[in-house]
Every structure is written in C-alpha cells, then in structure tokens.
C-alpha cells in the first residue's frame, strides 16, 4: 500500500494520485487540509500500528512507500468555537505528528522532510555540491552595497541575484538600473552570483534513473519566461555518463530518494550545478517532454525498483 500525503490543491499531489490510480497501485490519500479525518497509531510497540482515513485502513507494516508534499496553498477556516491562533496550533500539532511518523517510516519516503532541510540554504548546498565535484559559480552573500559593486566589476558586469533560502524568487540580472536600490540590502543579505551563460538543464533523479531536460530560452529565469514574453522550449536530453552518475550520487549524498537538480551547460561543455531540489515539481517537464517521471516514482513507491 502507498500513502500520498498532501493536498489536491497541489498539482504534484494530484498528478501522483492520478498516476497511482492509472497503474492500479493501491494507495490512500491523506489530505493535509483535513487531518481531523485521520486516525493513526505509531509506537515502539509496532504490533498493531495503523493509519485510517475514513473507511480506508492500513497497517503501517504494509506501507511500501509514502509520497509527501507539505504545501500550504489554501486559506483555512477556523475550527468551530475556536480562534484563528488555536485552530492554527491544532493544525500545526497534527501535521507535526504526521511528519514525525513519515520521517521515521522504514518505507520508501519521497522525500523525508528531515532530509530536505539542506535546501533552506543555497550556500550550504553549494558547499556540498562543490565537494561532490561539480563546478559552482562564484558567489557573494552580503548586505554591503559596496561589496556588490566590487563583485559586479570582478565578474565583468555579469551577475544575477536571487534568494539564498528556499523561498522562491525570480533570478534577475543585476544591471545599472539596480544601483540605486542596492542600498536596500542593508536589511537582509542577498545572494549574488556570477552569471553563467549556457543552456539550462533540469535533471530529475529517481534512485539510479535519470531524466534530463534541456531548456532553451533567452530568459534569465526560464520558469518566468512567459511573464517577460520570451519563448521557452523543453526537450529531453542525454547527459554525459559522468554527469548523470554525479547527479545520482549527489541525490544520495543529501539522503534523498528523488531530486530535481538545476544544471547549466556552457558552450565549452562544462556543467555548473546550482541547486538540488528535494521536492521537485516535475509536472511541467513530464508534460513537455513525455518523460515517464511520475511512473518511475510510482514504481519506487511500490518498492519495485
């Protein structure tokens, strides 16, 4: 039996439920928006530990895999007779209990939250990525505007800036129009990086399987190409074997079952690695290239890989 923990408001959770249904793999959907419907016991006694959602019950020893996405998309109503803060605390406590169980389950978990924390710091990841043998761009994290200008000059006036944490930001090219607003960084360090020219390659690893997609776009951040009316094209891509193996190893190094790795290939064939995403939203890549990523994840959850 497979557990899918998430909300159908999230398209990745919806995709995985649909894929498991299509493959006729038994699964229970645990709606993180309705944790009051969940009943479970997990203990060191282990004899009768179970999870039940409405009429569907599974003994935890029979769970082969858990797919989880902890996203917060919906505005929630309060529990009857309770304040917003009380309702929020109850939801946090219930979700934390569930995460505690999922993170320590002996089943295949895609991916354990505790193994995903490295993504909270791009600079932390960069150090690990660099140790794994990948090239990484020159980076400056600072709240000193004067340092930014110096870094800008040292990188031949070609740098980008983005968030250093896992909070999503649009990767933006730093240009003279930003000089005036650079003073704002005094309140918060910003992640500046030399701009690497080349082709974006997104790699999805599922244990030893690798799906790579080359993205052709003039946009600095191809995820937002539409916003800047720039065309974007996705196509399947065959990675050199050593890069493919390095991606698999990097995923293992971070303790992950699957990952979404952001690479850039330069004109002279070098691969730079930027980030390892522990909760990859691969739906767009699957749709645009026809790669069977969700199917592979489903087999992993069934413990058939």
């Amino acid at each position: 039996m497979i557990l899918v923990v998430g909300t159908l408001y999230d398209e990745m959770t919806e995709l995985m439920c649909a894929r498991l249904q299509q493959l006729k793999f038994g699964h229970i959907y645990v709606d993180t928006e309705k944790l009051d419907l969940l009943k479970f016991t997990w203990s060191t006694l282990e004899i009768n530990d179970y999870l039940k959602v409405q009429l569907k019950k599974v003994y935890l020893k029979d769970v082969s895999g858990i797919y989880c996405r902890y996203v917060n998309l919906k505005k929630r109503s309060n529990f009857p007779g309770m304040l917003k803060t009380e309702s929020g605390q109850i939801r946090t406590e219930a979700l934390s209990a569930l995460i505690n169980f999922v993170d320590r389950s002996p089943a295949v978990v895609v991916n354990k939250l505790r193994n995903s924390f490295s993504n909270e710091s791009k600079t932390f990841q960069q150090i690990t990525i660099s140790k794994a043998g990948f090239m990484t761009p020159k980076t400056l994290v600072t709240n000193c505007p004067e340092q930014v200008f110096e870094f800008y000059r040292s990188c031949n006036n070609k740098i980008i800036f983005k968030s250093n944490s896992c909070i999503r930001s649009i990767v933006t090219k730093f240009s003279p129009k930003h000089f005036k607003s650079a003073g704002l960084i005094k309140n918060c360090p910003v992640h500046f990086q030399e701009m690497i020219e080349g082709t974006d390659v997104r790699v999805h690893t599922i244990r030893d399987k690798v799906f790579a997609t080359a993205i052709k776009s003039d946009a600095v951040d191809y995820r937002y190409a539409g916003r800047y009316r720039k065309p974007v094209q996705f196509c399947s891509y065959k990675l050199p074997e050593e890069i493919s193996n390095a991606c698999v190893q990097l995923t293992k190094d971070f303790g992950l079952e699957i990952s979404g790795i952001d690479l850039k290939q330069t004109a002279n064939g070098d691969f730079y690695c930027f980030e390892v995403n522990p909760s990859p939203g691969f739906i767009a890549y699957e749709r645009m290239t026809g790669q069977a990523i969700s199917k592979e994840v489903a087999y992993l959850l069934k413990n058939d890989l």
Partner: protein, 295 residues
C-alpha cells in the same frame, strides 16, 4: 592580533559567560554576536566558489576575519527575526534569508565549529526518544518507548503498560511537555486526541545523570553536580556514535539508571552547566580547549 573565539548566542547565555572567563585565562578574546546584532549592526561579506570561501563580519568598528578566529560556538539553532519587522510582510523572508546565510556560513568554515549540526537536526535543540530511536539497534543504552496516536484505546494501553508514568510532548513545540502520572491528568490529555495525535514518552524511574561529551572524553555528572563513575564505560561508545552521526562535538546526554537498565532519555545539542559544580565546569572547558583549540 589577539586570537578570538566567536560565540553566537543570546545575551544571557550562561555557557558563554563561563567560556569567556576560561578563555581570558588563556589570553584569548571572546566575541559574542547576539541574534539581534545580525539584524542591526553586522555587515557580512561571504564569498564562496569552487575554490573555497572567506568571510568578514563587521560590527561597528570591530572587524572579524577568519584569520583571527580559533573556533566558533553557535548556540542558537535559528534566528527568530528582527523584532522591528515582526509585523511586516518582509518578516518571513528576511528571517529565512538570515538563517540561510547562517547555515551556509557555518558549514563553509575551516576552523572548528562547535557544533556543526547535520541538516536533519537543524530544527532541533534536543534529541528526544523519537529522534534517538533510529540509533537504538546499535546502542547498548535503552531508548524510552513512545507512541503517537489519536486512538484513545491505544493511548490508554501505553499509559498502563508504562505504569502510569509517561510524559506528553508536543510535536510542534519542543519545550512544551508535561509529566502525566495520574488517571485524571491522562483523562484530560486524552480529550485532546479529538483534535490531534498525542505523543507520549515512557518516563523511566531511576537516578538521572548528565554525561558531557567533549571530543574523545566524557564527563558524568551526578545530581549534586559532581563527577561520577555511575554510568559504566561500555555505554560511552553509544555516546560517541550518536555524536558522530549528528555532527555533535560538544553535547550533554541525559542517562537514567533504573533498577535493571540504563536509559538514554535526551541529548542536548546546546549544553549548559546549570547542574555542574565549578571544578567540573573548569574540567569540561579545559577539555574543549585541549580537544578543539589544541591549547
């Protein structure tokens, strides 16, 4: 330039006061950076590339470069934020960016960082039985039993099996925990199971000891704060193993000696000396200096 030990801790951190005192005797300077300093006074320059990294922190007229720092003692897991921004929409973002910088910066340092905790434990201050259970098959020490459940029958069964002596622990707020040792307390608690799963830990009865881990040395402290030999040496390998796996270089382990077994009930990743006598504090700090600063 005088060699420096850098601590990152709240202003009233007792450990830092002891460390400062011991360091001054060895002609070392200590600088403490409070979380508030990061939002107000500190300028950071943190360069990183495939070739290595360097940093400079500037606080007022003070400038701290890596070349003068012997070791860093981070004593906080996460910055909670600039109080001035707490009600602003930028609050979550700035806190997240400062924490992100902090984690990356600590990991980049080539000097001893005590402790450089593995990412899996970034959100924790203490390891409880649920966290410790993953090591249990390799340990000689026993880990207390636990249950997470909203099934009143299973909770009651656990409560009775452990002789009505358990601890309720919140899953989302580590500091919230209550001893549950009466039927009426249990009844009140089990009502909450309507709203969220309840976590209970077995509470072993016995004498409690604190074992400080410093490099290859351990110091066992009894309830009077004095050195003790009550925890047998054969258990110290368990302490080394857990420290290695979690990235701990300095930690304190709570061990309970019950009638027949020794239990490991918790691990503090930010130890303090509240239970220790003065001579024990000196011994442990000297151990830290010898092991990690080679002085």
């Amino acid at each position: 330039m005088q060699k420096t030990i850098l601590t990152i801790a709240n202003k009233n951190d007792d450990f830092c006061k002891h460390l400062e005192h011991a360091a001054s005797k060895k002609n070392l300077r200590t600088i403490n950076l409070c979380p508030e300093d990061f939002f107000d006074k500190i300028k950071v320059e943190f360069n990183i590339s495939s070739g290595g990294s360097h940093f400079i922190l500037k606080s007022g007229k003070k400038e701290i470069g890596i070349e003068n720092v012997l070791a860093v003692f981070p004593r906080i897991t996460n910055f909670t934020g600039d109080p001035k921004l707490r009600n602003s929409s930028n609050h979550i973002y700035t806190v997240s960016e400062w924490n992100s910088f902090y984690k990356g910066w600590l990991a980049s340092l080539s000097i001893p960082v005590i402790n450089l905790i593995s990412p899996e434990y970034w959100q924790k201050q203490n390891l409880n039985p649920i966290d410790l259970n993953e090591f249990s098959s390799k340990l000689k020490l026993h880990i207390p039993a636990y249950i997470i459940s909203n099934d009143s029958y299973d909770l009651k069964n656990f409560f009775l099996r452990h002789k009505k002596n358990v601890r309720f622990v919140s899953n989302s707020h580590a500091k919230v925990s209550y001893k549950i040792d009466t039927e009426s307390d249990f009844k009140k608690l089990s009502h909450l199971g309507k709203y969220f799963p309840i976590t209970l830990h077995q509470l072993p009865k016995g004498i409690s000891y604190e074992v400080f881990y410093v490099g290859e040395n351990t110091y066992t402290i009894d309830s009077q704060g004095k050195l003790s030999g009550a925890v047998p040496k054969k258990f110290m390998n368990d302490i080394f193993l857990i420290s290695r796996k979690t990235g701990l270089r300095f930690a304190s382990f709570e061990v309970v000696a019950s009638e027949k077994k020794f239990f490991l009930t918790s691990v503090s990743m930010y130890p303090c000396f509240s239970r220790c006598s003065k001579s024990v504090v000196t011994k442990i700090l000297n151990g830290l200096f010898e092991n990690y600063l080679k002085i």
